[in-house]
Symmetry: C2
Subunit: 585 residues, 2 copies
């Protein structure tokens, strides 16, 4: 089993120690062996589990999981079950459909296996993974499925799920993320969420929320469905709103073709040609990750990662065509992809990093010229996709369970899109004036339209500034009036845009004390606190998934009834029944 | 320490066993000794911790906790810290203010201690309590604080919190539930949420959510506030929106009086005289709780509690005055109070009950005459308070972490207000026709206005039927057209009002199988699943508190960093620092 899995990765993701253990002598999990790190970068030629085909307006994404190629070790990916490695490819394919195949209007999500759509997350993988890996795995798969919905809503790529057999657990959750679910009616193909009866855990990838809030299944039907191991099939699946249509196996291909064409016909005209998402280049060393526009410096003894974003090194292209020409090297796109990779790397490979510190380096006004360029070309498909990519990357930052702080110093370029990192942070500190011996001009920040309107809306549907100023809407209006003006530290503090403006005498001590204190707190307490404080205001299906559902799942992932020695997840497949503590909590 | 605490209760609430343990030989915790049960019934003459005074339009609720009277054993309630016993009295006082003192327009919430407002939930109690007790304790205290906000919003009783010294953790959360927070500015009085830095847990009673969503504190300020052990005082507390005003100690009494009068002046005219909330009479035996209109039968071997609600035994009173005359004996009010007590008793004292089965017995049309009576008198303060009480009790049912099922059989009276229990249940089963030998008429249900309009809105702000039919709004309209008509099982199923209509041949097996299956599932899995499936649709501050915040807190209450042998909650006060597992999750 699992011959293809790197053994080092396996060790890294071994079961959690019994209790609070402290860190292993200053060496991080990643530091112990860079080859063990999970890499989120891939491309179709390297896919083991998916095939991506595009035929004019219709794309086909075929799941055909190689059971001998698990990401970690110790399990086989039978019956199109998946692990993080499978989902990394899916996420990549969804991104490529947007950037490389913008002409695709319909994506058919299919299985490459006979009479099996997808058995969901691999149970043996879950049973063997650490708590942290399970939680981060679920978070990433959720983000991937939200990406499907985002492509549907904002990029006119509609997803049709062709369920040719069993779609169980995460398999059905994948279907739920699609716009239209087609189910074969052959007396055996069924959709199901068997997690509760089978494993004593919840469907972890939005299943319960999408059942109640997206497909709006009646709650008693949902109750029956989620407690029925074998699921629901045929006509009842349609009546209960679980799928959109059923058809005999003999009519499936014809029905799919007809449906795809009908949906494609409803979408508007689309660009013909995409750009190539060339590989994100990254140079790893013991204590850093270097990309072209992003540097990550790890101070592991202090449990910090410093992410520096660099501004553009030249003016924006002269035209939209020139932007297309630059493709993946176009500064806003390359920066977004690099930042995304940096964040994912920290999430999965640097578990002991307590705090991510954002800095920037560059010419603020030049950053703004890129924002202006994207605004001027907002009708162009690539400009739109780049904005949407930033929106997703910034949401990924919001959802990252580390303390976030932005330091605004001379030489920085927190303007427009980059200023968003000030508002995504739990706190921001801005230096008044300069440090002794620094002859650069004092730091300023510059707001852009992107900061005050919904361009980069958080998962609650509001801009970060609107969320920040929920209690003082006047401050939002005042901020709007400052768009385009360089604001120094005192002004920024006055406007409520930064947490603290500090002079050179206080700066080092205050920032150091904050970072040290943060690293001394319980990581779990911080996770819970930040998940609550970051998302004031309205709730959406997305926030429900990440808050209500995820938090309950995390709880259950800690409960002996699931993960204890006699728990259902542990005992699954052992032939032994679980033994439950019967007290309700 | 803890001399006043019944030792049996102490044993009952001892720390959870190490892992899944199974039940103790068929005997429930409660069955082992009825005297150990927590009793939610109290009255001002028996209060140990609060004083309730009413002077015309101004009521004063003074917290003066008797440190020698903890509910459980092993701790002292120092510095106005509280446990469930203290909160049971507060909940009682809030209810009495509404029913016994409807003329009160302002409630001053004060401390009876010098320079200490309230130190929050007692830490030693939390450290020693079982997971189930901690969770249920937080749930009840949350409901109590929601009750304060409900009284303010719907009964014109505005709460002014007078913070004369330290308001820490739950102390500040109590203040947050009030409409107006006044803080002494003496260089030491402060509000704080020190849970995270001190105990590695979250403020468990809505604190984080009320900070961000009620008081709309800016998120970076909230971050600083929630990580600063000593809290925030003076002018900064006002600037950061944490309190509404500060004043020197010498001006406090004068400022409070002025503020109270100003707020009272804004409220409309009010009824002069309330009714007495006479004691809820309950007869306990080994396997039942008998009230006048409610019976609870425990089938502990099957992990079930059957709650039967009885209809009224006479016609409604002839006038509003006659209703006031009946007072607490007025059927809808007495039934609501009895049901509330029955639910709370199961929650805290019957931890192994998996499923609550609702039944009813009586004359459906007579139930409707009471609804009609309340509608006809909807301007009367007592009719309004009774509706609001039902709304709260039904929400308490929604929030109860047990599977809920309603069985609709001949002789039942699920009409109007009582029909709400069909829609509060996770599932409902209705018998078609009658069982052999039963010569009663087949069961019917009758909808009333209360079911389709917002009278008994759930915490998501929608009626249970509107929530049920989110995906099929036409069904809601169809249901409206059926108001007042007795609906038999087939009709009810057709209309989507019940989950399953079953004939006498299937009834017993199907219901039995369902109940057996439910009792076989992981209690934790069911808790998480039901918490997700019950609340489709919009989110409110209340659902945020019960979902997002509570779920995260429950998770943290399971994490070694808080409750493990080296965790912060365990080590608090021991002189030893906690030892954290530093991985972020």
């Amino acid at each position: 089993m699992g011959e293809a899995a790197p053994k080092a990765a396996q060790a890294e993701h071994a079961r959690d120690g019994a209790a609070a253990g402290g860190r292993a002598g200053g060496a991080s999990a990643r530091g112990a062996g860079a080859s063990a790190a999970i890499d989120f970068r891939t491309e179709p030629s390297r896919y083991r589990h998916w095939k991506l085909g595009v035929d004019g307006e219709i794309a086909t994404l075929t799941m055909d999981v190689d059971e001998k190629a698990p990401l970690l070790g110790g399990y086989e990916l039978k019956l199109n079950s998946y692990d993080l490695g499978v989902d990394i490819e899916l996420a990549d394919a969804i991104e490529r459909l947007r950037f490389e195949h913008p002409q695709a209007k319909v994506v058919l999500l299919k299985s490459g296996k006979d009479r099996v759509f997808c058995a969901g997350a691999n149970i043996r993988m879950l049973a063997g993974a650490t708590h942290a890996h399970k939680v981060n795995f679920c978070k990433f798969t959720n983000e991937t499925r939200n990406g499907i919905e985002d492509a549907s809503e904002n990029s006119g790529q509609k997803y049709v799920c062709v369920v040719n057999g069993t779609a169980a657990g995460g398999g059905y959750e994948l279907a739920l993320a699609c716009d239209h679910i087609m189910l074969v009616d052959d007396g055996s193909a069924a959709v199901s969420l068997p997690e509760l009866p089978l494993l004593a855990v919840l469907p972890g990838t939005g299943g319960l929320t999408r059942v109640t809030d997206k497909r709006k299944v009646r709650r008693d039907h949902a109750d029956v469905f989620c407690t029925t191991e074998e699921g629901v099939k045929g006509k009842r699946a349609v009546e209960w709103r679980l799928v959109d249509e059923v058809m005999p196996r003999s009519k499936l291909d014809e029905a799919v073709e007809k449906r795809a064409k009908a949906i494609a016909a409803k979408q508007g005209g689309k660009a013909d040609k995409g750009i190539a998402l060339t590989p994100v280049e990254r140079k790893r060393s013991a204590n850093s990750n270097e990309y072209k526009f992003v540097s990550v410096a790890f101070e592991r003894d202090n449990r910090r990662a410093m992410i520096t974003l660099r501004g553009p090194d030249s003016a924006p292209p002269s035209s939209a065509d020139a932007m297309v020409q630059q493709g993946a090297a176009f500064w806003p796109l390359q920066l977004a992809r690099e930042l995304d990779d940096a964040i994912l790397d920290i999430r999965l490979n640097e578990l002991e990093v307590a705090t991510i510190v954002f800095k920037s380096d560059g010419d603020a006004l030049r950053v703004l010229t890129y924002d202006a360029f994207l605004d001027a070309n907002s009708d162009h498909w690539l400009a739109r996709e780049i904005r949407l990519k930033w929106k997703r990357v910034l949401k990924r930052v919001d959802m990252t369970s580390r303390s976030l702080v932005t330091l605004i110093e001379p030489g920085s370029c927190f303007a427009g899109t980059l200023a968003e990192l000030i508002f995504a942070a739990d706190r921001s500190y801005m230096l008044i004036g300069t440090m002794q011996g620094d002859n650069r001009a004092p730091a300023t920040i510059v707001l852009g339209d992107v900061n005050v309107f919904g361009t980069y809306a958080m998962s609650n549907g509001l801009s970060r500034l609107a969320t920040r100023f929920l209690g003082e809407p006047d401050s939002l209006d005042t901020a709007k009036a400052e768009i385009g003006k360089p604001l120094d530290a005192d002004q920024a503090e006055q406007l409520g845009l930064v947490t603290f403006a500090l002079d050179d005498i206080d700066w080092e001590d205050e920032v150091r004390l904050f970072l040290e204190e943060r690293a001394s707190f319980s990581p779990d307490g911080l996770t819970g606190m930040e998940a609550n404080l970051r998302f004031a205001g309205p709730e959406t299906m997305e926030t429900k998934i990440f808050a209500r559902l995820t938090a309950w799942q995390n709880w259950i992932f800690q409960r002996p009834n699931a993960v204890g020695p006699e728990g259902a997840l542990t005992r699954y497949g052992s032939g032994q029944k679980p033994n439950f503590d019967l007290k309700r909590v």
